[in-house]
Symmetry: C2
Subunit: 373 residues, 2 copies
């Protein structure tokens, strides 16, 4: 790593540790324990590859420590300005974890904020060493901080969204009767690749396959009269994209246009409901009410949206029960859908940033169905 | 999924559930709880995409159940012949998990074998519903079964290894002064791609970077006199490869040849020690003794090997303390290394299957250092 880049990251880490300690104090948290993943990445600007060797970042009220396997110690030490407690394959992580806990919470932890994505073996090893501590998840600490994006994060997400637009157009261009779902997906991946973006996921669900919200793209051959759900995402400069558009092969299947219009109205209702200060469930309700009133309530089988940042799915989640209060600077999806078994599915997904007066859409691609002649 | 393929998978699932129940009985386990990942994949021939929506496969003495989010229920139901307990984004997983537990362990679980890779939030939700159960990890049940490979698994791993040989040769062909580590890695990825194999990882660590066992391939320009550690792996037909070879740019750095010879002797000593019935630690000791006696003990900072199957790292682990008894049909790496800070690193890695009379190496590429003129 070049020294300048390291300096920027170390400065950012100090800022983010300070923000984390402020929220720890508000929540009565005395220890935050993170695993290699997005939470750790947000704090350190980096995370080691997650694998079976337990690795922790422990943050206490005044100090922090990392517990790292010896095989990665040199590399981590060259990137991170946090004291390390190193364990060997021979000894295992238990003793190093114990010494790190003594360093970070010498009086013992009262309330631990545990990375909810941590592997069970690492999490239980830690909790077994803190038998008296109250347990919570880092959604409440690091997760809460990560929900509001700063300008640099927004710019990165915006750039990623425009790359996804490009990849979606590449998919549209490949759509015609006789092509398979996989061939369309290959064209989308090539579109991402043109913009130096690895494709992270690429769902092409044609005809009746569209009724499976998480269909696995396969060998089905596109036919005239198919509706096609295309849900794609890549990773641009470390940040994800996620968008869903609809395409039509030749002409729409019977009844399609009316259902598409319902989903579009649901998107618009959610957009109108999303304002700073509103609970996330109100946005879900706005979309769900439109679909329910149109008679398709049983076919809208998922939440209205999810946050997007370092991860493609992260808080806030826009569910029927979420009490999370939306704030300016939050980035999330709005993606209602209707899935009619045996016929077709329709989902329209935008990523938005919440501004003072409402959502700003990151994509520049219209939500109308693309018609492949 | 075509009906024939589904039939094969369902048959395999019945066989593997029977094997799992046999080992559960031996270990006094009344409930095995698996998350989307390799353990679940081994049982079901498939696993849903792991994400923040808790998904479980629960296996009891007589029945099994899955707990699945509604968004994936149709897709999972089309692939898996196990009763499903479905939860919605609105309600969350807790009640569905409760009803599945009642179905699978009506009398309550006495000893639960928990997927060690399960996310902490899912694992703790489960354990909180089983306050009286003794806890263990699925390394002891599914993990133990997965260590010994059947003929189909061996064939798949052998095919994957030969693809990695091809990709390694592609990397060798791209090696010359003035190229960056990243350019060599690109050539390796292209080599994998020629064989329809996504590259899973690709470490090219040149000169002093080689002293970081898990270096991140970067922009360093190769120079005459560099030793280069190349550790690569891909995924061929769902099965991983993993191999490490050394390359030399022009001529070896001072002192290189003697250290390479020590590592080669360590590989050979480990090969000679690996026999059915021997503890894994004896293989580690054989390699480590060679390196220690040559005076480089402090520079061999990792275990001698790891298992390889559905995952690139899985049991058995060949550490200095592992008491796992090696058995015929186990597949694992033998990969001693010496890492001299500021100078160079050397690692040589083979994947072997343990036969009655010793290890059979999967790769066909020699372990001598490739010299790029």
């Amino acid at each position: 790593m070049c020294p300048d880049k390291r300096k920027v990251i170390v400065t950012q880490t100090h800022t983010r540790l300070a923000a984390l300690r402020a929220i720890m104090q508000q929540t009565g948290t005395t220890l935050t324990a993170l695993a290699p993943g997005a939470h750790m990445h947000w704090v350190l600007g980096y995370h080691p590859h997650p694998d079976e060797r337990s690795t922790y970042l422990l943050v206490g009220p005044e100090s922090a420590a990392m517990v790292v396997p010896s095989v990665n110690a040199q590399d981590i030490g060259s990137r991170v300005d946090v004291p390390m407690h190193v364990w060997t394959d021979e000894d295992g992580p238990s003793a190093a974890l114990g010494s790190a806990l003594v360093a970070v919470v010498p009086a013992g932890a009262v309330r631990v904020s545990l990375d909810e994505t941590m592997r069970a073996d690492a999490a239980l090893l830690l909790l077994d060493q803190l038998p008296a501590a109250e347990r919570s998840f880092a959604t409440e600490t690091v997760g809460a901080l990560r929900m509001r994006k700063d300008d640099a994060e927004f710019s990165a997400l915006k750039a990623a969204a425009l790359v996804a637009d490009h990849a979606m157009r590449a998919g549209f261009a490949a759509l015609r009767p006789g092509q398979t779902e996989r061939q369309v997906a290959d064209a989308i991946r090539a579109g991402f690749a043109q913009k130096n973006t690895p494709s992270a996921f690429c769902l092409v669900a044609s005809g009746p396959n569209g009724a499976y919200p998480h269909h696995s793209t396969g060998e089905r051959v596109l036919q005239t009269g198919d509706a096609v759900v295309i849900d794609i995402g890549g990773t641009t400069g470390g940040f994800p994209s996620d968008m869903t558009r609809m395409a039509i092969v030749g002409h729409a299947p019977e009844g399609y246009d009316a259902v598409h219009a319902v989903v579009e109205r649901a998107v618009q209702a959610a957009m109108a409901a999303a304002r700073p200060g509103v609970a996330a469930q109100a946005v879900d309700k706005a979309a769900r009410d439109v679909i329910t009133q149109a008679g398709y309530g049983e076919y809208f089988v998922h939440r209205t949206g999810h946050g997007l940042g370092l991860e493609v799915h992260e808080p806030p989640y826009l569910t029927a029960t979420s009490e999370t209060v939306l704030q300016e600077g939050m980035v999330f999806s709005i993606e209602p859908g209707i899935y009619i078994p045996g016929r077709f599915g329709i989902r329209l997904e935008e990523i938005v940033i919440l501004r003072k007066d409402g959502p700003e859409i990151l994509s520049s691609l219209p939500r109308t169905a693309f018609v492949a002649a």
